[in-house]
Symmetry: C2
Subunit: 365 residues, 2 copies
């Protein structure tokens, strides 16, 4: 035992460990109370809950001195304007998805989710170790925002359809509640994107005012009962392979924090980010079984449709890259890693999962 | 604006946010200095580095008052006895893998990695939301240990072989450096497991004293140069589908912490846990390309071998469940979720990744 005398079991254990350490008064832990505008309703408990997880972690780690009050969509500001409120300083932070602001600049969407980007494991490797966080914050600084990943759903589903679609021809004139990038891509294949508030989707599907809608995945979708009026549940949601929800902070407010609080905030965001994906990965399996038991008809998008969507997406990307240097810079970074990721991912991980799925389907798990 | 007067941009930003908050002296942040024994050499920088990530997060979030000093394998205690040192109170904590202690009780291995268990996404869902952490700590309490997940490598590779193996017959008499559970399973297929220290593997392969070795995955394996003496790199490592490295704490020391430090420790462990997988997911793609460029021959284990290993593993499980109630309790919990996980995982996630891999192989990413 080199540098410390042998610590008897008792000495290490119990209050002794703390008593041994001379009580030191920490540098003052300033009372900070921030307001967070969520883009999500409380009903989306897993996504909305991500901000509450962050708030709890920060409060518990600072004896309640660092407080983030969480407000659901519409309580302070409209859900889809949460980031704008952070930019303007109406609130110190928000929990939102970058693609809600792609109308302002499509670059907002890239670190969130865009068609045929990276899945959750890939995008997180890029965020945390591929320079993704810094690249996105470089873009966001002009909007007075500092952002950190704050959750992921994993690959989302492709949505609920009143009728089956097998070919690109079947997509002609299809009225689908789908927005942003995906809507722009689907438009090229003849789909007619519809903007409908969440609460109005079910009646629109029921009446046939729309033919289809995308939403999230089994756990969240089951609550809205779409399977009763649009039983065909397509996958994968190729426009949300690993959608990242972000915690966005007013840049000045973030920079006004002590270094201690800044570091704690980054650590807590990282933990809350991982936690949301883990919670979806726990909840979705039960929900998909329940949906199928209630009559949901699972359907994969056909190779023809997926390939057509992929080609159309690449056309949209080419146009954006040509006209938006900030977009090109981040998209080039993601694309470079996407290629490497999908080379390695098909070796150990894919073969292991494939074998395990074969056993599951053979009733051997 | 309901509960707060409109905060002008200046008031929210800059030091104003902190100055506004009356400086409050936090409940004393006691000085705590712990020693962590890692089971890993510094050369395994990604795995060993996980403890340094935790230490940094804790120190930064407490103005340096909560310190964890990280010691590599052998500095304080032998790497494979790190958990024993925590049980005895020689050190307050360690960073280790439960299967190192399966000789004491195979139950140690279950929350770490056992053959044909869950991959990283699945085991993390089980840990954090399937009761896994509590179940494992219920078992560990008899060893005076509280543990939290502290990293994952993702599916590991199946190891380096001097010759190709295609059938179970090819495994007869194969001398392979492989331990624990995997060794016990492979023994049933005629493999002769060898216990060799990390530094002695290369010369043993070179001389042919052994025919094969498992290690980790591309990033870690490339450093040891096994491809020069055993070029056939098999996958998947079916005994490590999502191996969890754990931070293990002396129970009394953990319970002696303030609630504030306990919560901060859990948050930092959660972040450090996610970070290791993200770092491997960033590093492995580059390493596999480099290994192949240097002559490594990638080989999938044949369906015959995988199926035989799966059946042999199930025999071992049946024996352990019959004789070890603690083992059965945890393994039943994992198995129940494994079945659900591999039902859901083959829908959106698998189809998305499959499509993307096809595009990658067609040179379209």
């Amino acid at each position: 035992m080199d540098r410390r005398s042998f610590i008897t079991k008792a000495a290490v254990g119990g209050a002794a460990a703390s008593a041994l350490a001379a009580p030191a008064l920490a540098q003052s832990a300033p009372k900070v109370t921030w307001r967070l505008a969520s883009s999500f309703p409380k009903s989306l408990d897993t996504i909305f809950g991500g901000a509450e997880v962050l708030s709890k972690m920060l409060s518990e780690a600072t004896d309640g001195n660092f407080q983030i009050q969480v407000f659901s969509a519409g309580e302070l500001v409209p859900g889809l304007q949460a980031a704008d409120a952070v930019t303007e300083g109406t609130v110190e932070c928000c929990h939102t998805v970058g693609y809600y602001y792609w109308g302002k600049d499509p670059t907002f969407a890239l670190a969130a989710a865009v068609p045929f980007s990276l899945s959750a494991r890939g995008i997180n490797a890029w965020h945390y170790h591929g320079g993704g966080i810094d690249l996105y914050n470089e873009f966001l600084s002009q909007h007075n925002i500092v952002a950190f990943p704050g959750g992921n759903t994993g690959v989302q589903m492709g949505g609920w359809f009143r009728r089956e679609i097998n070919t690109v021809a079947d997509m002609q004139g299809l009225k689908m509640r789908v927005g942003g990038f995906a809507g722009k891509v689907m438009e090229r294949l003849g789909v007619v994107p519809q903007q409908i508030a969440g609460g109005d989707i079910y009646p629109a599907l029921e009446k046939g005012t729309i033919d289809a809608t995308e939403w999230v995945g089994p756990y969240d979708d089951e609550k809205l009962g779409f399977f009763k009026v649009a039983p065909y549940y397509y996958y994968p949601g190729w426009w949300e392979g690993g959608p990242t929800v972000h915690f966005m902070f007013n840049k000045s407010a973030y920079e006004g924090l002590t270094p201690t609080y800044q570091s704690l905030l980054r650590t807590a965001c990282h933990a809350a980010d991982a936690n949301m994906l883990q919670l979806y990965d726990w909840k979705n399996p039960t929900a998909i079984k329940s949906l199928v038991a209630q009559g949901t008809q699972l359907r994969p998008f056909s190779p023809e449709i997926l390939q057509a969507c992929f080609e159309a997406a690449n056309e949209v990307y080419a146009e954006m890259e040509a006209s938006n240097p900030a977009f090109k810079k981040i998209w080039d970074s993601i694309k470079a890693f996407r290629s490497e990721h999908y080379t390695w991912a098909q070796i150990a991980e894919y073969n292991y999962d494939t074998f395990m799925m074969v056993q599951q389907n053979a009733g051997k798990l």
